[in-house]
C-alpha cells in the first residue's frame, strides 16, 4: 500500500471537519469538528514524518496537540460563559455584530 493513502484519509477527514464547522450550530459540536480538522492535520504530519524519515513532522504534530489543548480550554470556557449569559450554546444566537 502506498503511504500516500494516509494523506488522502487526512484530506478527507479535514474536509468532513470543515464542512461540519459550517453546518453545525451547536458551539460544542462545532468545536469537536475543529478538533477533527486538527487531528487530520496531525495524521498528515505523522505520515510526512514517516515518508521523509525524520522526526520533525512528529514534533510539529506534538506542538499542534499542545496548542489544541490550550485552544479547547479557552474555547470551552468561552462556551460556558456564553451559555451563562445567553442560555444558549448556538453560535447563531451570538450574532449581534451586524448592522
Amino acid at each position: 500500500m502506498n503511504p500516500v493513502n494516509y494523506l488522502y484519509l487526512a484530506a478527507l477527514l479535514f474536509t468532513i471537519g470543515a464542512t461540519g464547522v459550517l453546518i453545525r450550530r451547536n458551539a460544542i459540536v462545532l468545536f469537536m469538528c475543529i478538533e477533527l480538522m486538527l487531528n487530520a492535520c496531525n495524521l498528515a504530519l505523522v505520515a510526512f514524518s514517516r515518508m521523509h524519515g525524520n522526526l520533525d513532522g512528529q514534533i510539529v504534530a506534538f506542538f499542534t496537540m499542545v496548542v489544541a489543548a490550550a485552544e479547547v480550554v479557552v474555547g470551552l470556557a468561552i462556551i460556558v460563559s456564553l451559555f451563562r449569559s445567553r442560555h444558549s450554546a448556538s453560535v447563531d444566537d451570538a450574532s449581534l455584530m451586524k448592522l
Binding site: 470543515a18 464547522v21 459550517l22 450550530r25 453560535v91 447563531d92 450574532s95 451586524k98 448592522l99
Partner: protein, 631 residues
C-alpha cells in the same frame, strides 16, 4: 502737504464719529473747520503750482508702499497736477460752503454731529479719489465716496423711502464698481501695473481690442458713479437724503467722478475710438433722458436731479470727443458745480422755509418772501440755461461747438442733440423757476383747505444764505473768468491735451443757435406756466409727460429686465441644480447606498456565514497554488 489735504477731513470724520455724544455741541464747528482747513491747504498748494512753469506743475508724493508683493506693487502715492488741483479746489471750496450751510440746515436734527462726520468722510474719500496716483488707490476712494453717499442718502434711515433709496444707490453703484475693478484687473494684465504713469504711457504699444475693453469697463464705472444711462436710476431716489448732501455729493462733486475718470484715462480712450464713441453716445442719450425727465417732475429736488443727470451727460459727451472736449468737460463740471450746488442750496432754502414741502405745485409767488433765495436761485437758473455772460453759457457753448467740430454726420447729430438739450434745459429750468417763485401763492390755498392758518414762508438764516450768495457769485462770474483769455484751457492743457476743432459752421453761428434755442425753451415754458395758472394737482398730461413722470420707465425696465430676468435665471439655475447636478450627486449617492445596502446583507452577524467565506477563500487559495504549480 498733499497728504494733509486728505488727513484734515479724515481726522474730522474720525473725531466726530468716534467722539460720541460729548461732541454734539461743537461737532458741526469741528467738521466745518477741518473742511475749511483742507480748502486753505488747497489754496496754498494752488498758489505753489501757479508759481511754477506749466510743465513742472505735476507733483507726485509717494507716501508708503501699500501692498508690496513681487510683481504687484501698490503704493499709497498722490499725484497733484492741474486736473486734480481743479477738483481739489472744487471739492474743498464747495464742500466748505456746504458745511457752513448745513450748520443752519441741520440745526434741528439731533444727529447733526454724525452728519458732519459723514460729510468729512466724504470729503476725505473724494480727495483720495482725485489725488490718487494709481487706479487701485483711486478705486479705494471710489468705494469710499460710494460708502459716504450710501450713509448720507440713508441719513434719515427712519424713513423707509430713504433706506430703500440708499440701498438702491449702493446696488446700482456696485454694477459700476464691478466695471472699475475689471478695468483695473485688465490694466494689470496688460501693463503689469496700475499706476497712471506706466499705464497711460504704454498705451501706444497695446492692441486696440484690449484698450477698447478697458475703456468700456471704465465707461461702465463712470456710468454707475455719474448716473448715466443705463445705470441712471439711483440718482432721482438719492434725493431722499438731506439737501446739502444732494448739493455736494449728488450735484457738484461725487457724480462728476465718472467724468474725472474718463478725462484722467484720456490716453486710453484716445487710442480706442470705439470706446470713445460709446462715451459720446452714453453722454448724448443721458443728456436727453435727463432733460425729458426733468420737464415732468413736480418734486423740485427730483427736477434738479434730472437736470444734474442731463448736465453730466453734456460732460460725458464732451469727454467722449477726446482732446477736442476734455478741457470743456472739466470746465462745465466746475461751473456746473457752482450753479447746481447753488440751485440745490436754494431748493433747500425753499424747503426750509416751506416746512420741507417739495412739491412745486404747492409753491408759487415765493419771491416776495425769500428775496435772497430768489436772487441766488435766479442767478443759478440763468447760469444753467446758458444765459449769455453767465458761467453756464461759456462752458455749454464750448461743448456744443466741440460737438459740431467732431465733424461729419456724427458731429451734426451730436451738435443737434446738444442744441436740443439746451432748449429743453431752458424749458424745464424756467418751469421750475416760474412754479416756485412766480404765480399765485398756492401754498396759501392748501393751508386754508386743511383749516390751518397759513404759515408764511420765511427767509433762511445767514449761515444758509451766505454760501448761496458765494455760489451765485461763482455761477455768474466763473465762466467769464475761465474763458476770457482761455485761462482754463491753458491751465489744464498740459494734463489733458487739447486740439482746436474746426466746426463746419462759424463759432458765432453756433452761439447764436444756442441762444435762439434757449429763448425758444424759455418762451414755451412761459407760455405754459407763466401766462396760465399752475394747477395744484398735476394734470394727466400727454403720453410723454406720463412716461417722464415715471422716469421714462427706468425702474419698470430694470424690474422687468433685470429683476424678473434674474429671477427667471436663478429659477432655471435652481431647476438645473436640483435636477441635473443634484440628480447626478444624489444618484451616485443612492446607487452607492443601494449597493452597500445589498453588500450589507453579507454582514449578517452569523459566524458560520463568515466561516463559509473563509473556507471558500481557502479553497480558492489552494486552487491558485495548484494552478501556479501546474503552470
Amino acid at each position: 502737504m498733499i497728504a494733509l489735504l486728505i488727513a484734515a477731513p479724515l481726522l474730522g470724520a474720525a473725531v466726530l464719529l468716534v467722539g460720541g455724544r460729548r461732541l454734539d455741541a461743537v461737532g458741526h464747528w469741528i467738521g466745518t473747520l477741518l473742511a475749511s482747513a483742507s480748502f486753505v491747504i488747497g489754496l496754498v498748494l494752488f498758489a505753489d503750482l501757479l508759481g511754477r512753469e506749466a510743465e513742472q506743475r505735476t507733483v507726485v508724493q509717494h507716501l508708503f508702499s501699500w501692498i508690496p508683493v513681487a510683481g504687484f506693487q501698490a503704493d499709497v502715492a498722490f499725484r497733484l497736477d492741474q486736473l486734480s488741483m481743479t477738483f481739489v479746489l472744487l471739492i474743498t471750496g464747495v464742500g466748505s460752503l456746504i458745511h457752513v450751510y448745513s450748520i443752519g440746515y441741520m440745526e434741528h436734527d439731533e444727529r447733526r454731529r454724525r452728519f458732519f462726520g459723514y460729510l468729512n468722510l466724504f470729503l476725505a474719500a473724494m480727495l483720495l479719489l482725485v489725488l490718487a496716483d494709481n487706479y487701485l488707490l483711486l478705486y479705494f476712494g471710489w468705494e469710499g465716496v460710494g460708502l459716504a453717499s450710501y450713509l448720507l442718502i440713508g441719513f434719515w434711515q427712519h424713513k423707509p423711502s430713504a433706506a430703500t433709496a440708499a440701498k438702491k444707490a449702493f446696488l446700482v453703484n456696485r454694477v459700476g464698481d464691478m466695471g472699475l475693478s475689471i478695468a483695473i484687473m485688465l490694466m494689470f494684465l496688460t501693463f503689469g501695473s496700475f499706476a497712471f504713469e506706466p499705464v497711460l504711457s504704454q498705451v501706444g504699444d497695446t492692441s486696440e481690442g484690449r484698450l477698447t475693453a478697458i475703456g468700456l469697463m471704465l465707461l461702465l464705472a463712470a456710468c454707475g458713479k455719474s448716473a448715466q444711462v443705463p445705470l441712471q436710476s439711483w440718482l432721482g431716489d438719492a434725493m431722499e437724503g438731506p439737501t446739502p448732501v444732494s448739493a455736494l455729493i449728488h450735484a457738484a462733486t461725487m457724480v462728476t467722478a465718472g467724468v474725472y475718470l474718463i478725462v484722467r484715462s484720456g490716453a486710453i480712450f484716445n487710442a480706442a475710438p470705439d470706446a470713445q464713441l460709446a462715451v459720446t453716445v452714453v453722454g448724448a442719450v443721458t443728456l436727453l433722458f435727463g432733460a425729458v425727465v426733468g420737464c415732468a417732475k413736480d418734486d423740485i429736488k427730483k427736477a434738479l436731479a434730472a437736470s444734474t443727470m442731463s448736465q453730466i451727460g453734456y460732460m460725458m459727451l464732451a469727454a467722449g470727443l477726446g482732446p477736442l472736449g476734455y478741457v470743456f468737460a472739466i470746465m462745465h463740471l466746475v461751473t456746473h458745480g457752482f450753479f447746481k450746488a447753488g440751485l440745490f442750496l436754494g431748493a433747500g432754502s425753499v424747503m426750509h422755509g416751506m416746512n420741507d414741502e417739495v412739491d412745486m405745485r404747492k409753491y408759487g409767488g415765493l419771491r416776495r418772501y425769500m428775496p435772497v433765495t430768489f436772487v441766488t436761485f435766479g442767478l443759478g437758473y440763468l447760469a444753467i440755461i446758458g444765459f449769455p455772460g453767465l458761467s453756464g453759457f461759456f462752458s455749454k457753448d464750448k461743448i456744443i461747438e466741440a460737438a459740431f467740430a467732431k465733424g461729419g454726420t456724427e458731429g451734426w447729430i451730436l451738435g443737434g442733440v446738444a442744441l436740443l438739450g439746451a432748449a429743453v434745459t431752458a424749458f424745464y429750468m424756467t418751469r421750475v423757476m416760474l412754479m416756485t417763485f412766480f404765480g399765485e401763492e398756492r401754498w396759501r390755498d392748501r393751508a386754508e383747505a386743511s383749516g390751518q392758518a397759513a404759515a408764511t414762508p420765511h427767509e433762511s438764516p445767514g449761515v444758509m444764505t451766505i454760501p448761496m450768495i458765494v455760489l451765485a457769485v461763482g455761477s455768474v462770474f466763473g465762466g467769464a473768468f475761465f474763458s476770457i483769455g482761455d485761462r482754463f484751457l491753458h491751465w489744464l492743457e498740459p494734463v489733458t491735451g487739447h486740439s482746436e476743432g474746426h466746426p463746419p459752421v462759424g463759432a458765432w453761428a453756433v452761439t447764436a443757435a444756442t441762444v435762439v434755442c434757449l429763448l425758444i425753451g424759455v418762451a414755451v415754458a412761459w407760455a405754459q406756466y407763466g401766462r396760465r395758472p399752475v394747477p395744484a394737482v398735476a394734470p394727466r398730461g400727454s403720453l410723454l409727460t406720463r412716461a417722464a413722470r415715471r422716469d421714462l420707465f427706468q425702474d419698470d425696465f430694470n424690474h422687468v429686465v433685470l429683476v424678473r430676468g434674474g429671477e427667471h435665471l436663478t429659477r432655471s439655475l435652481v431647476y438645473v441644480d436640483h435636477t441635473l447636478v443634484d440628480g447626478v450627486v444624489n444618484g451616485a449617492a443612492a446607487s452607492v447606498g443601494g449597493l452597500s445596502g445589498r453588500m450589507r446583507r453579507l454582514q449578517n452577524g452569523f459566524a458560520r456565514s463568515y466561516a463559509v467565506s473563509m473556507f471558500g477563500g481557502a479553497a480558492l487559495l489552494v486552487a491558485a497554488t495548484l494552478l501556479m504549480r501546474a503552470v
